[in-house]
């Protein structure tokens, strides 16, 4: 299972790094959005520290929808999805492999986007890099696991690119709220409630378990 999972993830990472389809699009999207938001709010005002964390997660979730959307759409050409289904890889390994690949790509985009974000919005995170890494990893996992599931559900739709965000964002709200609250605490230098981390962890556990349970149903039949 682990070997199969890793093979699928590596395959996805390879094809993404070669074509850079989602990667380039997601990176340019984050920069454009960071630029646009700077007109909607005053980024250097003092209260900017209160909402820039929320803005960062909006940008990340837009990039996330773009990346998870590619997860299964990539397999549509030449009926690769059928080939994957026919291969001896188990559905849960296939699903988790795709999630892992999307997770690593999104995490990479997020880390790169942190640089323009800290420059444009004067955000220092108070040197709490470990906390920042934890909230990035936990939230990104939640976003990609739910996102990849919905990417599988919507892969055959005409309006796929539009349907996926509409369906997936409302589901992600608990995780995004927790991430926003923690990031806001880090940027503005105020304490945040540790309950948000518990919320994030339970979100990840519940939806990973659910996705594993349902992967067979969605992918095999």
């Amino acid at each position: 299972m682990i070997a199969q999972l890793w093979r699928i993830a590596r395959k996805d990472l390879h094809s993404e790094l070669r074509t850079k389809e989602a990667l380039n699009a997601a990176l340019s999207l984050t920069v454009v959005l960071l630029l646009l938001f700077s007109f909607a709010f005053d980024p250097v005002a003092d209260e900017g520290k209160q909402w820039s964390g929320g803005l960062l997660w909006l940008v990340y979730s837009f990039a996330g929808a773009l990346i998870v959307n590619r997860g299964f759409a990539r397999e549509l050409t030449n009926d690769c999805l059928e080939a994957l289904r026919a291969s001896p890889v188990s559905a849960s390994a296939l699903f988790m492999g795709k999630t892992l690949a999307a997770f690593l790509i999104l995490l990479g985009v997020e880390l790169i986007a942190l640089i323009p974000f800290s420059v444009f919005y004067d955000a220092g995170f108070g040197g709490h890099w470990a906390t920042l890494a934890a909230v990035l990893a936990l939230t990104t996992w939640g976003v990609t696991v739910v996102g990849t599931m919905f990417s599988a559900l919507t892969v055959n739709l005409h309006l796929r690119e539009l349907m996926l965000p509409v369906l997936v964002y409302p589901m992600l709200i608990p995780a995004l709220v927790a991430a926003i609250e923690i990031t806001r605490g880090l940027i503005s230098g105020t304490a945040f409630d540790p309950v948000w981390f518990r919320l994030l962890i339970s979100f990840d556990i519940i939806f990973t378990a659910l996705a594993l349970m349902l992967a067979e149903v969605v992918l095999v039949e």
Partner: protein, 228 residues
């Protein structure tokens, strides 16, 4: 037979609703602090309960579909969700009208209001997903999976919202508070109206279910005709 049952259910539900309206508008007194507007609560809470019952059943029917793969469960799942959504909307809209009078604002970003709005959006998404998938087997399967995710997410959103402070009035039912916070006659009225709304929902679900089964029949006939 089925048609007659539906008619009978419709008549009973209508009579029950009229009886409830008579009691709540003409017999029960105004509430001490809020005045007459409190009566909207007789639709606000039962509407929520009815919507939640429908969404819960939608989750159950979806699981049953995935287990048995019988079309009937898929038809039932879409029927209950479609009927549940207007009741959820009834809950939101009556709440907004009440809020305008008591709080002075239509909407506040209170966690309970937000959570109710989120679940309405999620179930609207479910219905959109159904409309977007042309193949009936894939539609049934994918929307069943979505319904399970949706229900989990709705519970999770509500639970996570309990950690926020809330502006929404605290629970009043004696089931939750142990009694003493609500006049028994008023509480009875709530349950009566919940029953009436549930009957109404059952009526709509039965009609919608019939429709869905027929639509499926037409769809399969059309497929057969096209196959030749």
């Amino acid at each position: 037979m089925r048609e007659k049952l539906i008619y009978a259910l419709g008549i009973v539900a209508a009579l029950y609703l009229v009886r409830n309206l008579y009691v709540m508008l003409l017999q029960l007194p105004d509430e001490l602090a809020q005045g007459p507007i409190y009566r909207i609560f007789y639709f606000h809470l039962p509407g929520y309960f009815t919507g939640a019952t429908c969404f819960f059943l939608g989750g159950v029917f979806s699981i049953l579909y995935l287990v048995t793969r019988k079309w009937k469960w898929d038809s039932l799942a879409v029927s209950v969700t479609e009927v549940g959504l207007p009741f959820a909307a009834m809950n939101l809209i009556t709440g907004m009208i009440w809020g305008r009078i008591i709080w002075g604002i239509w909407w506040t970003w209170d966690p309970r209001l937000t959570a109710a709005l989120i679940s309405a959006l999620i179930y609207a998404g479910y219905l959109m997903l159904r409309k977007a998938i042309p193949d009936p087997t894939e539609r049934a399967k994918n929307s069943a999976v979505m319904a399970i995710f949706a229900f989990t997410s709705v519970i999770f959103t509500y639970k996570s919202n309990e950690w926020f402070r809330t502006q929404h009035p605290a629970p009043v039912l004696s089931l939750r508070t142990g009694g003493g916070t609500i006049e028994p006659a008023m509480e009875w009225m709530l349950f009566h109206n919940w029953m009436a709304l549930l009957m109404l929902a059952a009526l709509f679900i039965a009609i919608r279910w019939n429709q869905e089964e027929r639509r499926r029949e037409i769809e399969s006939l059309r497929r057969e005709a096209l196959a030749y």
